[in-house]
Amino acid sequence: MATRKRAAKTGPRDFQLRPADLKGILSLALARGGDFADIFLEYRTSLSILMEEDIIKESSESVSLGLGLRVICKDRTGYAYTNELSEEKLRLVALTASAIASARSSRKLPLRFRNLKLDKDVARARLVATSRPLQEKIELVERAYRSALNYAPAIKKVQVAYGESLQHIKILNSEGLFVEDKRPMVKLVVMALAEKNGRHESGFCGGGGRVGLEYFNRKLRPETIGQEAASEACILLEAADPPAGEMPVVLSPGHSGVLIHEAVGHLLEADFIRKKTSVLWNKLGKRVGSEQLNIYDDPTRPGFRGSYNIDDEGNLPQKTLLVEKGVVRGFLQDLLSARLMKKETTGHGRRQDFSCWPLPRMANTYIDRGEYDPAEIIRSVRKGFYVSRLSGGQVEDSGQFTFSVTLGYLIEDGRLGRPVRQATLIGTNLDILQKVEMVGSDLEFGWQTGTCSKEGQDVPVADGCPTLKITGMTVGGLR
């Protein structure tokens, strides 16, 4: 029993390193004249369970322990990491990371570290998944599985994946900050496969966030997830090929937040701004879109997948106004970009794990509610495309972006018509943001299953939006 307690509660012995133990390493890292250094110590345990073909097929557990050390010297970053936490290795890491600096003077460290205490917790986890028995999780998986499979005779195959993790972090920097935190996460995802007359279609649904297992009984039941996935697959069996060309597009609330993640969020990340590669780099205070657009990124939303108490550089996150009435008002700042741009950090410095240095990233990005009744928005379109579900998107610094629709509907004379299958939509942000003609009053957030990739680093995010109408956008269907 003793071993179990150790693994579940406090982590391995090596994770017990205290500021006093690490101070010498930090001063070694600055011995060659870096301006700033920080240490990110991580201990993460994760579990995944897979069910398919009526059986719990496999479970997998993973332990990740390691330390990353960064030295900043003006705009240069030296980085090294190790998963062996011996004194010798840590000294080597400090020397490696400091190689980018080459001054003789060394910076003095503060005598004492101030221990930043976090008074609130964005996680909403009463039954923290990592401390609950496996059987409880298997039951959730089986419930989701059965509800998807029993949804309709057309459903032939179902896969359910459950994942949880608990990330413990300690951050220490040369300005005297020390902070530690624990971040729980869970996710339950269902894929359902439907077949009719030789035609196959799949549907997905999922949920979770920084929540405990009680979430799946109170907020989003596994049955709902299973049925939603199955329902999408069944609707797609009847779906037509998507249309091709430019047409009015209405975006459903919630999932369509992907649009703002791609079209606005990435291009306001401060690294792209200070490097002037983002098409928005010179747009602060300028109008880039419709007056109805108010856009925020808020890492403090309780229970959300993209939320955190401190960012991965030890800074407190802030709800950040990005666009107000169509005018750019702010950027997403991490420590390095904020230093170089002489701005305050907004607490958006995030990293995938200890082997990666922080980058400015989104957390929970959304378009705030507008004035229009969603039904009125759909009624205003004579012939167009309604985006119901999305699977993701991509953007480049020029502002050209796409998002992939898994399920859409034709709009005919102000009403939703026939469902249509997969299509990619493409546009350029400065053009599309001007064409946002109506913003609905029904702000929703998408499923808490999103992951954002940037420079090879994956971090959990969420996004949201109300119903939106864009007067014209290219739909990549078939002729």
Binding site: I55, K57, E61, K157, E396, Q422, T474
Partner: protein, 446 residues
């Protein structure tokens, strides 16, 4: 790194013994030991420099035909032993699966030396030389006035040792190197920006493209997109550049993966022996090509890699299976195992005889696809819909760049409609192919 693997082998042996002693019927342990170097330079200065060693352990065990697995970056014996005991506990709550288990022990004849996986020159390269490679590449590109900004150049090297040991008596090990040089550029003024990048990646330093070549290609690819137009929605022949053929093949791989076939999440399930493409389509997976990025002596389960013809002149001959998929489908395992799933080794479209130039010259009207954005690929249906950039071809030559359009079609139809296959295969990634022309796809624009 060449010499010391003894301790890791011992650790793997200890874990297998520990698992067996605590009740595992079968057990498999993989240990990775890696060294990573990465330098990013931008506008003539070093921006990021990363150097690190890391180790990683992955294991799988079977108890009464039930499976549990685990992985850890903490290689201390107590942590790993905890994970083994917890895996055995978890296995008890899992359901038995008659197809689960290790492969029968097999002999493999190739070694890392005959496969040429390791280049001592990569391992011996000094950081200053690597930084210089990146700086030189970017400097050459920035000499071109048409380039207005840089995403930077990167030079990356990796060394990775893989040790695999299982309770059926398999014990194998190999060491590999990887190096890559890449550069991203931007051109254009005000709000009309275009971007592209170029790269070279190889196992051996001497095979890597020179800084001049990477820089020249990145510049050319970027500036040729300046002042793009959006075209009318239409069905036209689409020419795929080699990097575009690569993603098409990656999509095909996901559709011929034995895992997807038994899960029935691919439109190619149940179609073995059928003519799924035309005569120009021959696709091979080969883990034994010396020096190539996807080569390895054995897969993640210790199954020897091999040459597998997947599609021969349009005929679907084989699915790519790990041990589990092979038992489910009653087909041979092909040495493509990777943890729970399958991965390509060198998965490529056999090149043809014509040059890329000849393909373009023979096209009266068409779309030369040079870049895609977005991920609209659905293996269940074979549907393709992606954002696209490229060049408009008229009377055999590019006439203007095109942006902000999409291409759409279906992989099943694309395989039937490949009209020309080029000879310019480059093996810069494990999944690759030459330039091809596809009869007709929908390009959606205005």
């Amino acid at each position: 790194m060449k010499a010391v693997s003894h301790d890791l082998r011992k650790l793997a042996e200890k874990l297998v013994q520990y698992g067996k002693k605590h009740g595992a019927d079968e057990m498999e342990v993989t240990l990775y030991e890696g060294r990573e170097f990465n330098v990013d330079v931008r506008l003539g200065r070093v921006e990021n420099l990363v150097e690190a060693d890391s180790r990683y352990c992955v294991f799988r065990l079977f108890k009464d035909k039930k499976v549990a697995s685990a992985s850890s970056s903490d290689l201390s014996l107590p942590t790993l032993q905890d994970l083994v005991r917890q895996a055995l506990q978890r296995a008890r709550l899992t359901h038995p699966d008659e197809f689960a288990g290790l492969p029968a022990p097999a002999r493999f004849k190739v070694t890392e030396d005959s496969l040429k996986l390791y280049d001592p020159e990569v391992a011996a390269m000094k950081p200053q030389e690597k930084i210089k490679m990146a700086l030189t590449t970017e400097r050459i590109a920035l000499q071109d006035r048409r380039i207005t900004n840089s995403f930077g150049a990167s030079f990356v090297t990796n060394e990775l040792r893989t040790i695999l040991l299982n309770s059926s008596g398999f014990c194998g090990e190999y060491l590999q190197t990887y190096c890559s040089l890449s550069l991203g550029l931007q051109a254009g003024q005000d709000d009309r920006l275009v971007e592209d990048y170029w790269f070279s990646s190889k196992r051996h330093l001497r095979d890597l493209a020179s800084p001049e070549e990477v820089a020249r290609t990145a510049v050319e690819r970027t500036v040729r997109q300046l002042n793009p137009r959006k075209i009318k929605t239409q069905d036209v022949p689409v020419i795929f550049e080699p990097t575009m053929t690569s993603w098409l093949l990656a999509f095909l791989f996901s559709c011929v993966s034995g895992t997807a076939v038994y899960q029935q999440t691919t439109f190619l399930a149940g179609r073995l022996g059928e003519k799924i493409g035309n005569d120009l389509v021959t696709v091979v997976d080969d883990g034994l090509l010396p020096g190539r990025l996807g080569s390895r002596p054995f897969d993640s389960e210790g199954v020897p890699t091999q040459r597998t013809v997947v599609i021969e002149k349009g005929l679907l001959k084989n699915y790519l299976c790990n041990t589990y998929a092979s038992r489910k489908l009653n087909l041979p395992a092909t040495g493509n195992g990777d943890g729970r799933g399958v991965v390509p080794n060198n998965f490529y479209l056999e090149p043809g005889a014509v040059t890329a130039d000849e393909i373009i010259k023979s096209t009266r009207k068409g779309f030369l696809l040079t870049r895609v954005i977005g991920h609209g690929l659905n293996p269940v249906t074979g549907d393709i819909s992606r954002g696209a950039c490229g060049l408009w071809i008229e009377d055999g030559r590019p006439v203007f760049p095109v942006a902000e359009v999409t291409i759409a079609g279906n992989l099943g139809q694309v395989l039937q409609n490949i009209e020309l296959v080029g000879n310019d295969i480059r093996f810069e990634s494990p999944v690759c192919g030459p330039t091809i022309r596809v009869g007709e796809m929908t390009v959606a624009g205005k």
